[in-house]
């Protein structure tokens, strides 16, 4: 009986090892829970598949999908790591840091990790702005990745996105919390 279970166990574990790659984690991650930084980064790379950029966003079919980072932070680091092996809309992903607003011209996504009192850059077409702050979407940001009660919640500011010509798919809208703006 034990022998039979062990054989089954042996086979399934070998299968998993082959599928997932062998490696020792730090031991801190347990099944079904993951750190918020890693989840948010993975989530963002999924969310962009459900956003429609206008035709004007693409100079050519070979142009990489550019994620721009403003400010520093763990989420920015995670995105830089994951994006190395990703593809979005059949385009390679490029991650770059920006310091001044004119550099936004080549961006498709802006991950804004600056504190709330930094000068807000005006809406630029067609850049999807993403932030982690609770008040991000309420003050004009388009996508907020907020942790609430142990899970990541997607907050979307549809009006801000549509103003620069971006559209959220209905699947995305259904799964998110829609936020209205507080300022003109």
């Amino acid at each position: 009986m034990i022998r039979a279970s062990c054989t089954i166990l042996f086979r399934s574990v070998t299968g998993m090892l082959l599928a997932g790659g062998i490696g020792l984690t730090s031991g801190a991650s347990a099944p079904n829970t993951v750190s918020d930084g890693r989840l948010k980064a993975t989530l963002l790379l999924q969310v962009v598949h459900y956003v429609e950029w206008p035709q004007t966003a693409w100079a050519s079919s070979a142009q990489p999908f550019t994620i721009c980072l403003r400010g520093a932070g763990r989420l920015a680091d995670r995105i830089a790591e994951l994006a190395r092996t990703e593809a979005v809309l059949s385009r390679p992903v490029r991650v770059t840091t920006v310091r001044r607003q004119p550099e936004l011209a080549s961006c498709h996504v802006l991950l804004d990790a600056t504190p709330t009192d930094a000068e807000p850059w005006g809406p630029q077409s067609p850049v999807l702005t993403v932030g982690e702050d609770e008040a991000f979407t309420r003050s004009g940001g388009m996508v907020g990745l907020v942790v609430a009660e142990g899970r990541v919640v997607l907050e979307l500011n549809r009006a801000a996105a549509e103003r620069v010509g971006l559209r959220f798919s209905s699947r995305l809208l259904r799964l998110s919390r829609l936020v209205g703006e507080e300022r003109h």
Binding site: M16, L17, G20, A28, S29, V34, V152, R171, L172
Partner: protein
């Protein structure tokens, strides 16, 4: 076979763990959004979910109000009474009992207590940090003792600085003004390796004093301060924070003392020297299923020589907190702390501590249980904190709170709590000459407050309730009401009088022995509202009304040792207007009622502070990427007014108009 099976089982756990991290990418949107995350909590609890009268001052509030120090920033909180006594002394309290050493407000900066164990209260001129890097100041009015400790009898002020990763790059601020004569601040933040962020800062401030009621204005006082912070993410679920500061402040400070010869008090400027440093380390670990543990330790050294006797206090603190979700929708918090204090003091003719040096510890344990009776609708929090002070033994501080959220736009909360104030070394062992006057037969009389080693802690029991509402997409309201009963407040009795000679002057020395026989009932209401108007204009308003009744617990007690130096009403209106993308115009008006004396007061003191209206205005101009000019005018309406009254210790000054210009550059 079985052994290798067991080994396989062990490996499979690791493999499964690895798989869930790596195979995240294969999950779809719905699955990702339903995963549980471990996130090292930044200690941030959403304000609208807290069953207490909380107000958060954000960095934006600090910047746009034009305040230049932490005590001045506290004026922004509804229900706080901030009275500036002189150039470097403030009396700050919430819900009553204000004084330069108001002992019912616990103040912490990044988890480190800055409340003085010698005198109670806070030496506000020593509590500074780079204001630009303050993330928020959370103020809880009312007994928050169950979470924060004794001396949180009437509130907690918690200053949080930004994490190092949020303060990257270089920041330089230069300012000049009529009172804030010269301000120079610099900060640089960067990255260290893959997972650590750091910053270090230095600042130099020189400020002029305020004009005294009598006597020559003291000279400038200056502060030189520097510090650092390191935040290091070790692995996915551990975080270590290391921070420290060093400061040195010099100048003069005005002192008022009683002397046994006419005119029976003396106001003069004495040299002020304050220096010190601190270092803090904190380790937080997020466990699976949402549990979190934090261990923190800090060391603080404070040396000061000013209006009281010279002293030195060394504090070593160790604190551990563990939070975990439990069955039946509960979250339990368990904490323990140990603080060891060593102090050494000198003596002056008018003030001394006996014994002049002491070493003592404070032990504490907390249990707090949050129960989501109905998820998102009704949450109850029950807890207790037990503390053991070396001088007064054990005290229990329980609290029970309830938060009801009938709709997403409204919430109602109520709380019942008990808090204790631990007597300071001065309350127990101190002596301070209070006042002098001409007695019969030509002999001057000098009375002096004496500490009582058998002093019991003050206790307070409070009933509070509040309502928060988002009335409209653009209007929100926050109302809090409270009723509290304080027992064991200072009363005094005249001790054995005797003839003494000091500096060749014969006088009658009257000791005032402090005891705990006064009770006070305080009730009040605090209303705050915030409105978003069109054209990028925001308005914030608040109104506070508070009244008290006091009496003596025992008929033998003769005097009331603490006057009611609190205004009955205050209101505040702040306007924040983004006139253009580059120009900001901010105006704040604040009216404070006169200070009222209710009980028999020590003869020789008179009420000085009438009601006053304060107007501050700021013009902010962004000239380029990361560059901003500000011009700020303070107290523009009234030429000069006093905010407090005469007492022994810090001499009273006029608060007057001030203006400053500041330029900030950040990259």
């Amino acid at each position: 076979m079985v052994r290798s099976c067991a080994l396989l089982l062990a490996f499979s756990f690791l493999a499964v763990a690895e798989q869930s991290a790596e195979s995240l990418r294969s999950l779809d949107l719905e699955q990702l959004l339903s995963m549980e995350v471990t996130s090292v909590r930044r200690g941030r609890q959403r304000v609208d979910r807290t069953a207490a009268a909380v107000h958060v001052i954000t960095q934006e509030d600090i910047r746009r109000s034009g305040v230049t120090s932490i005590p001045e920033a506290l004026r922004l909180v509804p229900g706080m009474h901030v009275a500036r006594i002189n150039g470097n002394t403030w009396a700050i309290s919430a819900r009553g009992f204000n004084g330069p050493f108001a002992n019912k407000l616990l103040v912490m900066i990044d988890g480190r207590t800055v409340y003085s164990p010698l005198f109670s209260g806070v030496f506000w001129d020593m509590q500074d940090t780079l204001l630009e890097d303050v993330d928020r100041i959370e103020v809880i009015r009312g007994p928050a003792a169950a979470l924060w400790g004794a001396n949180a009898v009437y509130g907690v002020v918690n200053v949080f600085t930004r994490r190092a990763e949020q303060t990257q790059g270089t920041l330089v601020t230069v300012g000049a003004g009529s009172e804030d004569r010269l301000t120079l601040r610099m900060r640089h933040g960067g990255r260290w390796g893959r997972n650590a962020y750091y910053r270090f800062y230095a600042q130099q401030q020189s400020r002029s004093h305020l004009p005294l009621l009598k006597g020559e204005e003291p000279g400038l006082w200056g502060l030189l301060q520097g510090g650092f912070r390191l935040d290091w993410a070790v692995g996915e679920n551990d975080e270590i924070t290391l921070q420290g500061d060093l400061y040195d402040s010099q100048g003069e400070t005005p002192l008022r003392i009683a002397t046994p010869q006419p005119p029976f008090h003396h106001v003069g400027n004495v040299p002020l020297r304050a220096a010190g440093g601190n270092v803090l380390a904190r380790w937080t670990r997020a466990h699976r299923s949402g549990a979190e543990s934090t261990v923190q330790s800090y060391f603080d050294n404070t040396r000061r020589d000013g209006i009281f006797m010279p002293f030195r206090v060394d504090t070593l603190d160790l604190d551990a907190v563990h939070r975990r979700p439990l069955a039946w929708r509960q979250e339990l918090l368990v904490g323990a702390g140990l603080r060891h204090i060593t102090d050494r003091t000198g003596a002056r003719s008018y003030v001394a501590l006996t014994p002049s040096a002491a070493q003592y510890s404070l032990l504490s344990a907390t249990v707090l249980d949050e129960i989501r009776l109905r998820p998102d609708r009704l949450t109850a929090t029950v807890g207790v904190r037990a503390e053991r002070s070396a001088f007064t033994g054990w005290s229990l501080q329980p609290t029970a709170r309830l938060m009801w959220t009938p709709t997403r736009r409204h919430s109602v909360w109520g709380a019942v709590s008990r808090a204790t104030g631990t007597p300071s070394r001065f309350d127990l062992h101190g002596r301070l000459d209070q006042h002098a006057y001409a007695g019969p037969q030509g002999l001057p009389i000098l009375s002096s407050a004496q500490g009582n080693p058998a002093r019991q802690p003050e206790t307070a029991a409070a009933l509070e309730a509040g309502w928060r509402a988002s009335l409209h997409k653009r209007l929100s309201v926050d109302v809090a009401a409270f009723r509290s009963r304080h027992n064991g407040l200072p009363s005094y009795a005249r001790g054995q009088t005797e003839l003494r000679v000091r500096a060749g002057v014969r006088h009658v020395f009257v000791p005032l022995l402090f005891d705990n026989d006064v009770w006070t009932d305080v009730s009040g209401v605090e209303v705050a509202a915030s409105a978003v108007m069109p054209f990028r204009w925001r308005l914030n308003a608040s109104y506070t009304d508070m009244w008290s009744v006091r009496g003596l617990m025992r008929p033998t007690a003769t005097g009331n040792g603490s006057a009611w130096r609190d205004p009955r009403r205050q209101w505040r209106l702040a306007s924040r207007w983004d006139a253009t993308r580059h120009l900001q115009l901010d105006v704040t008006t604040h009216w404070v009622d006169r200070l009222r004396e209710r009980a028999q007061e020590l003869p020789g003191t008179t009420l000085q502070a009438w009601d006053h209206l304060r107007l501050d205005a700021r013009l902010g101009w962004r000239v380029g990427e990361g560059m901003e000019w500000s011009v700020v005018g303070q107290n523009l309406l009234e030429g000069r007014h006093t905010e407090y009254e005469l007492s022994a210790g810090p001499a009273l000054a006029y608060v007057r108009r001030a203006v400053y210009v500041r330029f900030g550059w950040r990259r």
